[in-house]
């Protein structure tokens, strides 16, 4: 009787492809009454087509770290946003300064985007497109400004406890659903996934509910403007940045994380430490855990799997 090894031993990690005995199909026929009893298992052919981990490609630690950079960036962005909100709420940050910073960031980001376009040799945007961009940014700017009194009172009646809970869960949703992939892969440019839109909506809703806790209209306007930059525009830029060199992305991530921690440090030391732990866990420990967990990978393939039809492209 053949034996089947179900244990997740280390050996599988070293030998990702285990072919069982070569076996032939002559033992596996149904149209002839078998000489043995029906429960007889032919040792040569049983599970002859079983393959373990056939498409197994082990991850390397540094590759995973480089992939996790965008997650770290996103988390750092959320942390920065929260500290900015706290400062606005406690009136230690002038809303007008924030508007200036946000506008500068926007222009910087737009320039970076254009530079990356040049470097990637994509079809350049014409002047008409640029004019359109400027027009829509001014439109958003003005509409946010006019909406800010409404947004401030929108959830004013809700108690603060509910607001904290709601915005925390919306930020979690935002982090979970965000699209961390690159805008260009080996197979060409890819569009954003649907979930990234949900992610953006979650973050904007979160900032809208937070805005009701702010003291005055300029603060609300500044916060919403900043949230649009951080959660709508930055992810698009981030996907584009994925195509840059690892060193640049690492430095950028490092700066963002450092900014998040430094901005939080005066507000609460313990939270700042918590952020440090979370960010370093995501970018350094989590990849190591994934690499370690790979030895438990046990993918079983055989003739029972649904075949993938191969059709010539016409």
């Amino acid at each position: 009787m053949p034996s089947v090894n179900f244990s997740n031993s280390r050996r599988q990690f070293k030998l990702p492809v285990i072919r069982m005995s070569s076996g032939n199909y002559h033992d596996k026929i149904l149209w002839k009454r078998p000489q043995h009893s029906d429960s007889f298992i032919s040792p040569g052919s049983f599970l002859s087509s079983l393959r373990k981990n056939p498409n197994f490609r082990p991850y390397t630690y540094w590759h995973l770290v480089s992939l996790s950079l965008s997650v770290t960036q996103h988390l750092a962005m959320i942390f920065i946003f929260i500290s900015v909100f706290v400062r606005l709420k406690e009136r230690t940050l002038d809303p007008r300064l924030l508007v200036w910073i946000a506008s500068t960031c926007f222009i910087l980001g737009y320039v970076t985007w254009q530079v990356l376009d040049c470097l990637c040799k994509r079809p350049r945007q014409g002047h008409a497109d640029r004019a359109k961009n400027v027009k829509s940014s001014i439109l958003i700017f003005l509409s946010l400004m006019s909406l800010s009194p409404v947004l401030r009172t929108l959830t004013a009646a809700t108690s603060s406890d509910s607001i904290w809970a709601l915005s925390a869960s919306l930020f979690m949703l935002n982090a979970v659903l965000a699209d961390y992939s690159s805008s260009v892969t080996l197979y060409g440019p890819v569009n954003e996934r649907l979930t990234s839109v949900l992610s953006m909506n979650a973050a904007i809703s979160s900032s809208v509910v937070l805005a009701s806790r702010l003291p005055d209209d300029p603060a609300v306007f500044a916060l919403i403007l900043f949230s649009v930059q951080a959660f709508a525009l930055f992810p698009i830029l981030r996907r584009r940045l994925q195509t840059c060199t690892v060193v640049f992305r690492a430095v950028f991530t490092w700066c963002l994380s450092l900014a998040a921690i430094i901005l939080t440090m005066p507000l609460s030391q313990s939270v700042a430490w918590l952020y440090t732990v979370v960010l370093s866990f995501v970018s350094l420990v989590a990849p190591a855990v994934l690499v370690w967990a790979q030895k438990y990978k046990n993918e079983i393939r055989g003739s029972w799997d649904v075949a993938v039809p191969r059709v010539n492209e016409s």
Partner: protein
């Protein structure tokens, strides 16, 4: 073996039509022929098929008032089935239950409950499952939990057995495959698929009878059919069946102007399958997964030469001179069909001889006889104690084990409650079973009365 009373339990049964349904019916009929008493327990069908019905030949069917949730399967709930099952099994003096199909929760629950009454269990698995998606992982765990305590498992093909052994974790402590896993193939009624007398004509007709769905590899059909039509002016296609891919097929036919070469019949009734098959000389099966492939067998029996993709249990069911295999790739399917057309054109395939051969290969009487051997082994084997059952159940794993153990224990307590609530003494036991002679007598008497 001594005649025993057997209860077939499955969600999939007449009036639905399909492989499992047919298997259960034919196996039951042939076991009745061998002197056993067989009943079928299944769920009700809207609008009014509920209660006890009789099917020819003296097969009693219990349609229990459970509502199916999706594709005729009921919701697994572990306990609500027990009151019905206990009463039926006691009333009918059942010795052994035979559950069918791994997606039938009634079958699983039957296996869970029947040890309470000292009844033995056999399970037949009819389909193949992968291991990768969440649905497979869940149903496989459910299957492993059920099969832990089944007395025997029957699979319909060798590939099916490999699959079931892996999915149901049918190995003992030392890693050996359990000895009570059998392979007993499906069969067919050769008389229903008699080939037409040979007619001389230059056209070669390729028949496809299949649900038009992705899993049936219709994409391959859509890709190869026009190429074949181009390469062989004397070939035409007849496609029977309905499904989501019908639109693609229609579109292809429209675009390439092949209306006179490819005939689409839409869905066909089971009774008409033979008349569709006998229109052609080659049967094409492009399935991407197939546990047994009864449609292929029916076609071969009707005298058609078969071209099939090499998937699942298909390579096991026919000898090489009756079937050509292709990998599930457009070019290879094209090659295999071309070869088959060559074989047919040169007259190297004799439909009548093929039919006679199939007759000797597959036979329901033989299947019933082989199943009877399984029953005999099971009935004679030692029954597990509750303690051993609990130990084995715990072996399912750190999470699934305790959950199944709780279900097992609660089930025992529920059973004790039922013993008190509906005592056996209050039950009406079945004393008379179907008596064919008496039936004939009654019919004749009735006819006599009418004439008078």
């Amino acid at each position: 073996m001594e005649p025993i009373s057997i209860a077939m339990i499955t969600d999939f049964f007449h009036p639905n039509v399909g492989g499992v349904e047919n298997h259960v019916y034919m196996l039951s009929a042939n076991l009745i022929k061998r002197g056993h008493k067989v009943i079928v327990i299944t769920h009700s069908h809207a609008p009014d098929r509920v209660g006890i019905r009789w099917l020819f030949p003296s097969l009693k069917v219990y349609y229990l008032p459970f509502v199916p949730i999706a594709s005729s399967a009921t919701l697994p709930n572990f306990f609500t089935f027990l009151p019905y099952l206990r009463t039926i099994l006691i009333r009918e003096h059942i010795h052994l239950i035979h559950a069918h199909a791994s997606l039938s929760s009634l079958g699983h629950e039957g296996i869970l409950h029947s040890h309470l009454l000292g009844i033995r269990t056999v399970f037949t698995d009819h389909s193949l499952f992968g291991f990768e998606d969440a649905a497979s992982i869940l149903t496989n765990k459910l299957l492993a939990g059920t099969l832990r305590n089944a007395d025997a498992v029957i699979c319909v093909s060798h590939t099916g057995r490999e699959n079931t052994v892996l999915r149901g974790e049918l190995v003992d402590e030392s890693g050996r495959v359990r000895e009570n896993v059998y392979v007993i193939p499906n069969a067919l009624v050769p008389e229903h698929f008699r080939p037409d007398p040979p007619k001389s004509s230059d056209t070669v007709t390729i028949v496809v009878v299949s649900r038009l769905a992705y899993r049936k590899g219709i994409d391959l059909l859509i890709a190869t059919a026009p190429r074949i039509c181009n390469a062989f002016p004397n070939v035409r296609f007849v496609v029977g069946g309905d499904g989501p891919k019908l639109i693609d097929l229609l579109q292809m036919r429209e675009e390439l102007n092949l209306q006179d070469r490819i005939k689409l019949l839409g869905s066909i009734r089971p009774n008409d399958v033979r008349s569709v098959l006998t229109q052609g000389a080659i049967f094409l099966n492009t399935s991407l997964t197939e546990s047994f492939g009864i449609a292929i067998l029916e076609a071969a029996c009707a005298g058609l030469y078969v071209v099939s993709t090499r998937v699942g249990g298909v390579p096991e069911i026919l000898p090489d001179d009756m079937i050509s295999f292709a990998e599930p790739e457009e070019d290879d399917v094209f090659r295999a069909i071309s070869e088959a057309i060559d074989i047919i054109s040169s007259g190297r395939h004799d439909p009548l001889r093929a039919h006679e051969k199939i007759k000797t290969f597959y036979d329901w009487a033989q299947v019933a006889e082989r199943t009877e051997v399984v029953y005999d082994t099971v009935v004679k084997s030692r029954q597990m104690e509750l303690c051993e059952r609990m130990k084995r159940t715990m072996g399912l794993g750190p999470f699934a084990g305790p959950i199944y153990l709780i279900i097992l224990v609660v089930d025992c307590l529920f059973f004790l409650f039922l013993e008190w609530w509906i005592p056996r003494d209050d039950m009406d036991f079945v004393v008379n079973h179907w008596d064919h002679d008496r039936f004939v007598q009654c019919v004749e008497q009735e006819q006599g009365n009418n004439i008078r």
